[in-house]
Structure formats: C-alpha cells, structure tokens
C-alpha cells in the first residue's frame, strides 16, 4: 500500500465516512514533498500581470529566474512584466549587504524602462541579511519621482497565502492616489483574475455589454493608473478569493466599497457572478441586459456541450488546485459534463472552504488539503480516475500513471473563463479523456509493461473497491 504519513492523515477525508472536520491551514509537513510554494511565489504571481510596473526581485538569481515569463497573463499594451529582473546577489553582497546594489539596480532599470511604478520583492536572503529595503525604496522614489513599493515576500514567511497578503498590501499603496472623476454608478472592479489566455478581456466584455463599467481588472492586464483610481468603483467582485480578498477588505475598510465573492468558471458560476453584480446595482436596464446576455450565451454554449457530455458521461475526475473557489467551480463544471469528481484537493483551503466543498461533492469523494505526489498517485489509482485537473507539477503524476490531464493553472493558453470558456474546457477535457493513447498505457492495456520493475506498491487491479465501482458505472 502507498503509505500516507501519520502527520498527514487528518488532512485527508472521504465524504460520508469521516465525521471530524478536515485539518487545514497549517504549515506543510517537512519532507512530505508538498505541492505548495512559498510566500515569494504568492506575491509574485499576484502582482506579475501589472504590465507597466517594474518588478525587481531582490535576492540571489534563482527566485527571479524560475518565474521569468511563466504566466500566461496577457497585456493589451506594455509587456514590461514579462521580463525577469534580479539584483542577482553574490556572496560579497550577502556578507556586506545588498542595499547599494538594490539602489543601483532600481535606478538603472527605472532610467531604462520608465515604468509607472516599481515593486521590489524581498526574498529569503534579504530577510536574513537585514537590508533596509523600505529605506532604499523611499530614496529611489524621491529621486525618480515614481512609487517604489517594497513587497515583504521573504519565502520563509509562509505559503503563497502569506505572499498574497503582502502583495495586496503593496498594491493597496497605489489605491486612492488617482482621479476617480467620470466613474459611473454601475461600476465594478474585478479582483483575482489574472488575464490568463485573455480571460479578463472576456469577463470585461460581459460587464460592458450588460451596462456595467469595469474600472480595474486586478491584476489581469493590470495598469498602475487603474489601481490608483479603482477606489472609485461601487462594487468589488472577487474571484480567486485566496489571493485577493485581503485587497477587497482593505478597499471596503478604507473606501466603503462592498465586496462579493464570485467565480467566472462554468456556466452556472459565470451567470451567478453577472447576476450578483446586476442585482447589486438594482438597475432595471442593467438587469435586463444581463438576462439577455446570459440567455444568449447559455443558449449558444449549452447545446454545443451536448456531444461532449455524451462522450464524457460517467467519467471520473480528480482535481487538485491552489485555492478552493476554483475547486467549487470545477466540481460544478464537471457535473455539467456528466462527470463525477472523486477527488478534490487544494493547496491552501480554509475550514469554511472545505465544508462547502464537502457539501457540493458526492459521497465517497476524497477531500484533501496540502497533498503531495505520493498521495495524489495513490488516489489516482485507488479511485481509478480518467481525468486529473491541476497545474504543471501535477501533470507528470497523471501522465506517468496513464491518466488524462487538464491544466487549470497559469500556464494554460486557452481561456477557460466565462461562457465560451466552458466550451473550451469541455473540448480540453474531451481531448484528453477520449484520446486513443490510453489504450497503450500499462495501466489500461492488458499486457503488462516489460519495463515494470518490482517495486510496486499498489495496482488498480488489486483494488476491488475501485473495480466494483467502475462496473457499477458501466
């Protein structure tokens, strides 16, 4: 059997079988090979799409190098964000301090690229050697006349969640510094969409068509000036709540803007998000246009889903994603395709998130917090899944075991948000689940692979429960 580490058992549940609440919101167990990243990663992904800002990583080279142009976060204008700038600290600077190099780097980059603002990300080392990053930022800001904002993103501070918070604090420094003249009554900010494959553009179009003004998409296709004036919007819609709730709360406290948690994945959730905003404004024209838009789009997409639903009915899906809100939407979207979610996990869900996840999942669904490759492999086999939804780090686990995969993370190149996104999602899922290649993978083929070594731990054929379950579905 694949062993689950003793310390991890309380973070795994099977709906209908485990009565106690799922343990979560804890630091990762050392040596467990968590799929989580660090605080730096969290800050970097959230602020990354702000395309006319300078993003300088203060630290040794690795931190900056690994995220050079990794997100598919598109910009309709400047592309400065797609660069990777680093102070590339060397041994001597670690000993004597990196402040001088940081100052020089900032001045050089600001002179060369003329950004609207600059973000300076602290990495672990900077936290340890004690550079006064804030003082350097203040100095350069004065000299160059732009905002230079430190981001307290030292990796060891915590998981991505900690980094999200630091990013929100940094972004908030710009909020309220711009002119809000001309912003109408039916106006929203969309927080927590990062314009992967152009998704913010799709969402923005819906709102504009329904007669609602989008003041800022934060941070997808982001601009410094949009952040400066986003406090003029009347409502904040927060997707990817883990990353952006903190900024929405800051906006609520400082500027009295109410917030609503929404999601733009799947037909149901996209429609609900639009209605949520339309109902908030209580403007009959907006409501009517929203109804028209939703009716038209659902009427267009739903019938087109039929052939995919027929092909995918009864297939079993596993999902492991960063935040819980995406998991909720995916469970619903998979249901719409006739599929069952047998595993739902997240890196950083909260107790409330997992409670809600449990409500929308079927009995027997495994729910897991902060999982690792060994556990995910175990579930893939035990639950005999046909599809895995996750990010790049989960992909080889699925592929190696002969399971279809759909990337629902920053590297996807096809927009999955909005009504049309649901159609793309269906095509993506269909293209992987129905591929003829699975007939050849050892797990599915009758012939056992010649290269199969003896260090087997679990095989699906030896798991009667899964086999029985499959028979029942057939």
């Amino acid at each position: 059997m694949i062993q689950v580490l003793e310390q991890r058992r309380a973070q795994i549940h099977r709906k209908g079988e485990t009565a106690t609440p799922l343990r979560c919101d804890r630091r990762s167990v050392a040596g467990s090979v968590t799929q989580r990243a660090c605080a730096f990663c969290g800050s970097r992904v959230v602020l990354y799409p702000i395309a006319d800002a300078l993003h300088l990583v203060h630290g040794p080279i690795g931190c900056a190098a690994y995220n050079w142009d990794i997100r598919g976060a598109l910009s309709s204008g400047p592309q400065l964000h797609r660069n990777s700038f680093s102070t590339d600290l060397q041994e001597m600077e670690v000993i004597y301090g990196g402040e001088r190099k940081l100052k020089q780097a900032l001045e050089e980059l600001i002179d060369r690229y003329r950004p609207k603002a600059a973000f300076v990300y602290s990495t672990c080392i900077v936290g340890v050697i004690g550079d006064d990053v804030e003082a350097v930022c203040r100095q350069v800001a004065r000299a160059k006349g732009i905002d230079v904002i430190p981001v307290a993103s030292e990796g060891f501070r915590g998981t991505k969640k900690t980094g999200y918070q630091a990013a929100c604090e940094a972004a908030f420094k710009l909020v309220g510094t711009g002119d809000t003249t001309g912003i109408g009554a039916c106006s929203v900010n969309i927080l927590g969409d990062f314009n992967i494959a152009g998704e913010s553009w799709i969402i923005r179009r819906y709102f504009e068509e329904a007669g609602m003004e989008v003041v800022a998409t934060i941070t997808g296709d982001g601009r410094v000036d949009d952040l400066r004036r986003c406090h003029g919007a009347r409502l904040n819609l927060v997707q990817c709540s883990g990353s952006m709730t903190h900024l929405a709360k800051l906006l609520e406290t400082a500027h009295g803007i109410p917030m609503r948690r929404v999601s733009f994945f799947g037909l149901e959730d996209t429609a609900a998000a639009l209605y949520e905003a339309a109902n908030f404004f209580n403007d009959s024209a907006v409501l009517e246009r929203t109804r028209d838009l939703v009716g038209r789009e659902v009427g267009r997409v739903y019938p087109a889903l039929k052939k995919y639903r027929e092909a995918l009915a009864g297939k079993r899906a596993a999902l492991y994603v960063g935040g819980a809100f995406k998991a909720f939407s995916l469970v619903k979207a998979l249901k719409l395709l006739g599929m069952t979610t047998v595993l739902a996990g997240t890196q950083t869900g909260s107790p409330e998130d997992y409670e809600l996840l449990r409500e929308i999942c079927d009995d027997g669904t495994v729910i897991v917090d902060d999982s690792n490759p060994v556990e995910l492999a175990k579930f893939i086999l035990e639950l005999d899944v046909d599809l895995f939804i996750g990010g790049v780090k989960e992909r080889p686990i699925a592929y190696k075991l002969g399971v279809g995969f759909c990337d629902h993370n920053h590297e996807r190149k096809i927009p999955l948000a909005g009504f049309e996104g649901m159609l793309h999602f269906a095509r993506e899922v269909h293209a992987t689940v129905l591929s003829p290649v699975w007939q050849f993978v050892p797990r599915r083929s009758r012939r056992s692979s010649a290269s199969t070594p003896s260090r087997e731990i679990i095989s699906p054929s030896k798991n009667p429960a899964a086999v029985e379950e499959r028979k029942g579905l057939a």
Binding site: R27, A30, T34, C38, A65, D88, E108, I397, S451
Partner: protein, 453 residues
Amino acid sequence: MKAQPATPPGTVTRNACKVCAPLGACVVFSGIEDCVPFLHGSQGCATYIRRYLISHFREPVDIASSSFSEEDTIFGGARNLRAGLANVTTQYGPRAIGVATTCLAETIGEDVPRILAGHAADSPGGPALIHVPAPAYAGTHTDGFHRAVRRVVEHFAAPCTPHAGVNLLPGFLSPEDLRHLKELVAAFGLACTLLPDYSDTLDGAAWAEYLRGQPGGTSLEALQRMSGARSTLELGRTPGADRDTAAAWLETHHQVPRIPLGLPVGLRETDAFIAALETLSGAACPADIQRERGRLVDSFVDGHKYVFGRRAALFGDPDLVIGLASLLDEIGVRPVLCATGARHQAFAPAVQAALDHADPTDLRILTGADHASISEAARELRPDLVLAGSKGYPLARELGVPLIRVGFPIHDRIGGQRLLHVGYRGAQRLFDQLVNTLLERRQDTSETGYSYL
C-alpha cells in the same frame, strides 16, 4: 581576445541566462539509484525547481524540502531537517537522500554535516545522507551540478581494489546523450560508472503501478567502486580547467588518472572521445561506429554549401556552447556570439580554441551574460540563426531567424530530454536539423517555392 563581461559588475541581471545551484544538485541526485533530492531551506525552492525540471523533462521530479518557517530562520532548521529526512524515508524508502543547502540555510550558518551525522547515528540502517552546499549566490546551476558530483564521489568513494572499469563524468547532458555515451563506452567493451545517470530516472517508461521513484540511476555499489577505476573521463572544458572537480579529487586521493575532454559534440570532439576509449580499452573503434562517422562526413559534404558562412548566435550552459562552437566551426558556420550566464575564466579561451576558421574580428564572447545583454549584442551582430534552449525564442522571434533548440531548458517543445547532442550520431542529428532549418527558411521565403533544393 578576452571575454567581455556582459554587464559591468554590480548592476542588475535582466532575464538571467542561468538558474541556481540547487537545481544542478537536484539533477545529480535524481541520477543516483534510489536517491531522493532534498532541499534544506524554504519550500518554494523545491517547488520552483520541480516545476522547472518538470517543464523540461516532463517526468515526475519529487524534491523534498525542510519547509523553513520564520521561526526556523531565527532558531535554526535542525528539527525540520531531521523530521523531513524521517518523512522522506517513510514515504520513499530511499537508499540515499541528497541534501542541498539553499541560500537561506547557508546564510544562517546551519551546521548541516553535524545535523546529518546526528540523524544518521540515531537511525541506523537508514539511507545514506549526502550533503552539498548549494547557495544560489555562488555560481550557477552548472556549478551546483559539478559540486554535487564531487560531493557524491567524496561521500561514497572508499578504498577499493583497482578494477578495469572507467568512471565517466558527463556533465549536464540530456538523458538521450547519457544513453548514447553508455552505448559508445560499452561498444569498446569497457565497464563504466556514469555519474550521474538520469537516462532512465528523468526519461522513464509509462508506469503500470505507482513507483516510489523512477527506476535507474547510478547504483551506490558502483559509486563505492569509483575509487578503484582505471581512469576518470571528465567531459567539458570548464570542469577540465577546474582543480576542485570530482575527477581531480579521485586523482589526488585515489590515484585514479583524470582524462579531461571536451563534450563530444561535433566530429573532432567525438574523435577525441573515441580515441580516449581506444586507448583505455586497447580495442579499435568498432566498425559500426566508424561507419557512423563516415556517414557524418559524407553528409557534411552533401550539405556544406547550404550552411557556409552563415552567422550563428549560441548561448546557454558553458560546455555545450563550447562544444557547439566546435561543431559549427567544422561545418563552416561562423559563431558570431558565444555567451553563457556562468562566469568561467576558462570559457573564452575554450571557445577560441574550438574555432579554427572563425574570423576573430567578428566574434563576441560573453561570460556572466544575461539574455538582455545577449539580445543587445545579437541585434548588432545580426546572426542568421540562434542555437539555444527555449529561452532563446524571444530573441529568435525578434530577429526573425530560426531557433535550433539545444540543451536546457526546453519548455516550449516536447522531447527536450531526448535531444541528442553527443557522438557522431548527435552531430548528424544537429547537422541535418541545421541544414534543413536553413533550407526550410529559404524555401518558405522564396517567391518560386522550389520543390527541389
């Protein structure tokens, strides 16, 4: 001619042409049988490196972390390190754990050897614990790679009866390269310990069941016998110029003769490698390898006019750039820009030594370069093609010239792990690709659209 530093020291790095030392160490540990790489530091390091390696190799790459928190940073991470080692042992049942200390652990001054010794004493029969310091502020991923190779050798090499086998230290090559090197050495009847050997572990078959690690890798038994080998073949001009490598250590401490060679990329460097194998084995080069060489020369003749005088920009890991420069030189392509992100004194002289036919007035060699400085130089030098990993794509796109993907990382194509660069066969593949890429460009841009070329 001296290499020009790409940017004056002390200034910012824009789009680095390197990654950090722990990545190289993780690749080495991945190439040891039943060994789990472990990073002592923040968990982001392990996660980022996993993601980066997965994008290239498209294989599971499990790297454990001690997951430093704020308290560990202040009070030391010994407890986490030990808990982590215990958990890796439970989950993976490895025979070895390769611990690389990241910037953070190095800077707070963790006494990792002492912690590891304590852990080993408390858990008899547990996995071997190999330690390599790998702070990102000292050197690049290739330095981390070579340092880890040396630490692995030091860790396992015990006094051992001399034997007829040879050690082969290939450097950071593709799994396909490693497979081909093993094949070549075996063709001379030589027993060989290849370190690291990730030819299977980072390019394995589909699994029928879950495996705790990919099968394959250099065995611990083979590592223990490296000190008794007849010789150590050390590939790569930059480690060859370094006095602190694994091969140098084996020579000093165990009197195993060190044979430094370039990467066997192109005809001449492969000839040198084959000659070394002939000398070591006392056997003549097998006929099928000779025929492979013959076909390569024959194809050079068939294709020479299509490539002659073309200007190439090449950048990436230092030894691969040196090897490719040599290949380009022998087929009449002019390397006009040879750059690496590493800062190696040996790089520029080695590039120059590889070039018999280049025009020195038209050649720029950059060390410690980043992609911004490479792009700036390339805009002036106007190459006809670029040889680099996927990181060369933005430049090739900007210049409107083809990119021939080589080395690491390849994350915008599949099959990076199966790219062959070494041997006559690797030279053949590279030559065919180079000629055909240029022919395709000419065909696509020709008004006539010739179908015979």
